[in-house]
Symmetry: C2
Subunit: 346 residues, 2 copies
Amino acid sequence: MSGEVCGNDDPVERRPPTIYDVAEAAGVSPSTVSRAFSRPGRVNAETAERIRRVAHDLGYRVNPLARSLPVERTSMLALVVADATNPFHFDIIRGAQDAATKAGYTVLLTDTRESDLLERQALERTLPMVEGIVLASSRMSDSTIRVTAKQRPMVVLNRVVTGVPSVVTDISSGARRAIDHLRGLGHDRFTYVAGPEASWTDGMRWRELREAARGAGPKVRRIGPFPPTLEGGVEAGRALRREPTSAVIAYNDLLAIGLMGELLGHGHRVPEDFSVIGFDDIFGAQLVTPGLTTVAAPLYQIGSTAVGHLLAVLNGARPQTETPLVVPTSLIRRRSTGPHGADPVA
Amino acid sequence: MSGEVCGNDDPVERRPPTIYDVAEAAGVSPSTVSRAFSRPGRVNAETAERIRRVAHDLGYRVNPLARSLPVERTSMLALVVADATNPFHFDIIRGAQDAATKAGYTVLLTDTRESDLLERQALERTLPMVEGIVLASSRMSDSTIRVTAKQRPMVVLNRVVTGVPSVVTDISSGARRAIDHLRGLGHDRFTYVAGPEASWTDGMRWRELREAARGAGPKVRRIGPFPPTLEGGVEAGRALRREPTSAVIAYNDLLAIGLMGELLGHGHRVPEDFSVIGFDDIFGAQLVTPGLTTVAAPLYQIGSTAVGHLLAVLNGARPQTETPLVVPTSLIRRRSTGPHGADPVA
DNA sequence: ACGGGCCCGGCAAGAAGTTGCCATATGTTG
DNA sequence: CAACATATGGCAACTTCTTGCCGGGCCCGT
């Protein structure tokens, strides 16, 4: 005669169902429920089916926290980037996320705003929750990285830290591609616009550029360092105009784009007066006018390779600490490079 | 006489210390250690200090999983975006992340690749681990969103779902700004380049544009829908050239940029032949040539406001479901708009 | 017919914390 | 000095799930 007691919104604290609730409803023990979900085959097929049905009716979902506690597997990976809004990281993030998702892992993305303090704090916070770490463009010192790498499997990107697995692009072939392309267009004097001094990649690019240019004869000169941003690019543009060369290779695309802007803003033409090449092929390189010729890094692949290796290590593989994993580069030709001396207007 | 037994790398499985280890080393009970960390004041200051020192020496860190289990507080928030590489989301992500970090929360960022299936899966996966959810540009249906919102506090961005708190930009004033700017330059016929039909924002922008144009006299026409991408923009460019107006307002910056490219590629001039305006002021709007005039949304603020509200709700505040939280817009003037009929060349 | 294996379900001990309640010591008040 | 309040630490139960081990039932080979 009294109405329904268990309405939908009564004030009783309705906690989500647990395996105990399911067990009771299905007439089995909690451990059987647990096994029905996490150890298929261990329990009789019919029983399992019944349990699954009951669980579904009750709206049961496993509690990942409780599950992780005993087994020490959180199925989470940390991806730490210096700046999530730097287009350089886009496809790295995607690649990492896809690879992780495919393996049933979730990635915890943290943006450290180029601050090594924030980076350490973020690590502090997330490290205990994740099984492994991918460090993209870390601003921390090698030794700090090594210490952290002791606590969890780790892969660093675009940087080589001895003792820690890393993924880098094939800078050497990239540099050669850039030089060859420019020489093919008749240029024989290049300016390399350097990025941050602390950058491992910058050092390598400069070295390989010189290497690639050596036997061939052309001269490369270096200006900088400049911050790897649009602003750094305009700064570099001013420096370049003081002592021009017909071809310029920038540390990265952002710098190249800023530089082009400065040049164009002062009445110079690209590529007629200056051929410019960048590195990385970030989103935006195709947006600018003229489109930027650039040495493309397979960003997506870097991300997925890193996660792939991390997962392998988690599954017992030996970390690859000797030599970095190298991914290939390719040259994307757009409109910012052209033949030396071409001058359709004059 | 035997050497050190506990070297640094001996094969014994060295598990991270727990409160039990600390308790033993400090000569207190585990509960006291627990309280020393989670309930300051509950234990004697000296004892607490001693415990803290011992813990530090042992390298103890609390295990967030174990901590969350009993109290049901994971200190994590989910931020689900349709596309993490869409510049529109950059500052939203930053704002959200900053606000969360400031409150001691970690954000779990998920990119759903514009797929409502992936979105549901991601939610499935992360929802049990987080205390609240921010949905940016969800591709799910209103009803699915409402169902999900029942399970955890949620805020949706740039969309109004009745019954769920939301943060939106002040579209009405934004539209008026665009129209006024263009009229101030002498334009009196506008084309609105529509975005995806399913987009709530698109509908509103179009409505408010018409509204803003009404009394004033100028005519607005609409073409589209187009996908909100660069490609959509070139498509729109073709459509526009068939039936031109001197001024065009695009659903968003990406569309506007693609459109400008198409126009310029066909010998038209911007802003001399076409004035174009976008929405959102994404990264890239200042990169293109000419720089894109746009109705800026305070993206960062949207992100932080959303998280702020979420945290408030978690702390007991009533969710703001009646009216959306509105953030203001502003007009960023760049080079893509100019006076009607200006023609310095001809 | 009986010992030896499977199959399958259950028991109970963790995993690393939190917290309600109790016990003791100390301080305070009348 | 008794009675009571407060500060501080400990005990043990609790969060949800996993898993090693045990044992009953059943089938098989001999």
